[in-house]
Amino acid sequence: MAHAEAHPAAHAEQQQHPIKLYLLVWGLLFVLSAFSYLVDYFGLQGYLRWSLILIFMMLKAGLIVAVFMHMAWERLALTYAILLPPLLVLVFVALMVSESNYVLFTRLAFFGTGP
């Protein structure tokens, strides 16, 4: 067991990781959340705002999934089965962006600028 504790990946029956790591991630999540709040507080606009929001969001999501949900220590078979399918949502996003642009175009063309 002493050997397994040195290599958490080899000891995957139980997800046992040092509390220190959790506290570190907790702190990082706090800092990242504070940063995303400051983006709004300072009223940054445009591409700077959007890219910062997305960066902080992805970092937070990654930390939660990898450490708090232990995905970093799971078998690849599970990791890929869970993390790859949501990427398909991006295809749906692309479809809906195109669709929304079309709806906006028809609304402007046929209803003027009214609701």
């Binding site: 995957a12 139980q14 997800q15 046992q16 959790y22 999540l29 709004d40 949900m69 078998r75 869970i82």
Partner: protein, 240 residues
């Protein structure tokens, strides 16, 4: 009659690592998730399906916001509060975010204590997590009643695009429901931990199966997922 000769059985080859291992785990003669128990695997698969549910909500919101000809209400102002005479944009949502992140932190530590079979600490940390969750729902209830009193309805609001209300109530409502269910789930498991069900292998009320401390980790997966969804809602609905 001499004793039969023992011939060594062929040893199984070690499983390949990396991508080759991934492919061979998914091969037809294999039990795909190996050391992952069915309970944990099924929770993950449920969370995957829930990801799609929330993904569709956020997509619907995106489509509504992109296609409306009326300006979208500024969430920074809509969710601002006056605290001690100072105008704080989005402050309530920021506090809710910190509360939920803190609950995730205590949950992660509860999982750790659970696997060390520290019954008392596990139960206390889970109760603290549930308390944070209940605080979050309480603040959401405050937010909802504030917005409703200001005239936000699913079909309109005083500041702009009518879809703002329906997106808001749908997305935060579903998330709040998840938090509420998570709090109930936490309380049930915390009670069982406190009673020592997982030390004495007491059988479950519904399933008649012996419980294990792994249920703390599975509950934790659900709870962290609720936090994870909030990360996306915070980014896309409140900050965007």
């Amino acid at each position: 009659m001499s004793a039969p000769i023992k011939t060594p059985a062929a040893e199984t080859l070690p499983r390949p690592a990396g991508l080759a291992g991934l492919a061979s785990d998914w091969a037809s003669d294999q039990r795909t998730f190996k050391n992952v128990s069915w309970g944990k695997a099924m929770m993950w698969i449920f969370l995957l399906s829930d990801t799609f549910v929330f993904g569709c909500f956020l997509l619907a919101y995106m489509a509504a916001r992109m296609s409306t000809t009326v300006p979208w209400p500024n969430p920074s102002e809509v969710f601002a509060l006056e605290i001690g005479g100072t105008h704080m944009p989005l402050i309530l949502i920021a506090i809710m975010t910190f509360v939920l992140i803190s609950s995730s932190g205590t949950m992660a530590m509860a999982v750790n204590c659970g696997y060390r079979r520290d019954r008392r600490k596990t139960a206390i940390l889970m109760l603290v997590t549930a308390l944070f969750g209940a605080t979050f729902v309480g603040m959401q209830a405050f937010e909802w009643s504030k917005l409703i009193s200001e005239g936000v309805r699913p079909w309109g609001n005083p500041w702009g695009a009518a879809q703002f209300g329906s997106s808001f109530f749908m997305i935060t409502g579903f998330h709040g429901t998840h938090v509420t269910i998570g709090v109930i789930f936490l309380l049930i498991v915390a009670r069982k931990v406190w009673r020592g069900d997982y030390d004495t292998e007491r059988r479950g009320f519904f399933t008649s199966r012996k419980g294990r401390y792994e249920i703390v980790e599975i509950t934790g997966l659900y709870w962290h997922f609720v936090d994870l969804v909030w990360v996306f809602i915070f980014a896309f609905f409140y900050l965007w």
